[in-house]
């Protein structure tokens, strides 16, 4: 069947992301949105006095944080995660061309696969941020189990990575 015979129907339909990937993506984005929105009044005293209800805000932040790994892990495991697992491998493996792009801070133009290296880097950063924020957040939440220097260190890292997440989300071209 050619396009001229039936113009309403595209000749090739490319399935870039399946339903599992789309659900995982938007669930993850929603959780990030909740975490970032609740982070602001928890961090900025001037905002917290406007918003108030610190306990409720903290509780929402905590539960959104606990839920954060669920969409990622839930979509990766099981037979439904085949396409996502294949994309994770795509993101993991870089060609020499792409590594050269990274070394030159984006000034060269690599041959593009499904994801460009900037998208890959963003995905890797997101995965790393999830793990670091979960670990440091856990130390802050269940602080009784950890020595004080760990708690102070965890708070320091949590703040720094949160800052990086805001920068990446709002400045990524």
């Amino acid at each position: 069947m050619s396009q001229t015979e039936n113009p309403a129907r595209p000749a090739v339909r490319i399935l870039r992301f399946d339903r599992v990937q789309r659900i995982a993506h938007w669930a993850n984005a929603a959780l990030f949105g909740i975490l970032m929105a609740t982070a602001l009044p928890l961090y900025f005293g001037s905002l917290s006095t406007v918003v108030g209800r610190r306990h409720l805000v903290a509780e929402i932040h905590l539960w959104a944080g606990i839920a954060l790994p669920v969409p990622i892990i839930g979509s990766l495991i099981g037979p439904w995660g085949a396409r996502l697992r294949r994309d994770v491998r795509r993101i993991d493996l870089w060609t020499r061309d792409e590594i050269r792009w990274l070394r030159n801070l984006g000034s060269t133009t690599p041959m593009l696969d499904k994801y460009n290296p900037g998208q890959k880097l963003n995905a890797i950063f997101t995965a790393g941020a999830v793990v670091v924020m979960l670990a440091t957040g856990s130390v802050m939440q269940w602080f009784g189990l950890f020595p004080l220097t760990w708690r102070t260190g965890a708070t320091f890292v949590h703040d720094a990575v949160a800052f990086a997440v805001f920068v990446v989300v709002f400045t990524r071209p």
Partner: protein, 240 residues
């Protein structure tokens, strides 16, 4: 032929490097190192950074502002009263001017929250609690001191020995200015050797009593003796 986006990643081909895994593990390792050594890094960077990177952000406060009730009690400087009562010779109501006229103690000490955040080298100024207690006169049988807040919810307590430590003050200045409402002004407690929750905000009353009455945060699971150095008893070897 499949479009480029549909070709499976070619793992076996030479020249492909697992950059993703390396960057991911690098971030995780950096995070773990940050938990272990972040406190030292923060200490080195010092007051400029405060609790995390907030000090670098415009409008970023270095303190996390906690309230139990969700609102900040607004008490005007003229109407403020600190009532000292209980097992004392003369129950007294102090105005802010009374407190400001008393001998001042200045401290430059960290504010350390039990959950981990810390604001280094905060300037505090106020009246030593021991001085205030001497002014009103303690009766025999007194064992502890209880504190009330204008927020109507927070309470705290110290043993009489803890209350008499030289770095426990009734603060009316903080961060080189009168204590703001956010920080518990016009008058708050500052218990330097203990975690932040012991430094009750919006101090309204001091009652000298015959037994330790666990305060709000202690009833919610925090240690009654909140020594920063980790001691759990009523006295700490680390205190001056």
């Amino acid at each position: 032929m499949l479009p480029a986006s549909e070709q499976p990643a070619d793992e076996g081909s030479p020249g492909k490097v697992a950059v993703g895994r390396r960057v991911f593990l690098g971030m995780a390792a950096l995070g773990a190192a940050g938990i272990a050594f972040g406190a030292k890094v923060q200490h080195l960077v010092g007051g400029a950074v405060g609790s995390g990177l907030g000090g670098l952000l415009p409008g970023g406060d270095r303190f996390r502002i906690y309230t139990i009730t969700g609102t900040l009690p607004e008490i005007s400087r003229d109407e403020y009263r600190l009532v000292v009562s209980g097992l004392v010779q003369g129950p007294t109501s102090f105005t802010l001017a009374d407190l400001e006229a008393m001998p001042r103690t200045k401290l430059v000490r960290d504010f350390q929250c039990v959950t981990g955040w810390r604001v280094p080298d905060v300037h505090w100024e106020g009246v030593r609690l021991s001085e205030l207690l001497d002014t009103v006169g303690i009766l025999p049988g007194a064992v502890a001191v209880s504190f009330d807040s204008y927020d109507g919810a927070d309470t705290e307590s110290l043993t009489l020995d803890q209350a008499r430590l030289p770095d426990v003050i009734v603060a009316h200045r903080m961060l080189d200015a009168p204590v703001t409402t956010e920080h518990g002004g016009p008058v708050r407690l500052y218990v330097a050797p203990m975690f932040g929750y012991k430094s009750l905000k919006w101090l309204s009353a001091i009652r000298v009593v015959d037994q330790v009455q666990p305060g709000y945060w202690e009833q919610n699971g925090y240690p009654v003796n909140g020594w920063i150095d980790g001691s759990t008893g009523p006295t700490s070897p680390g205190t001056p």
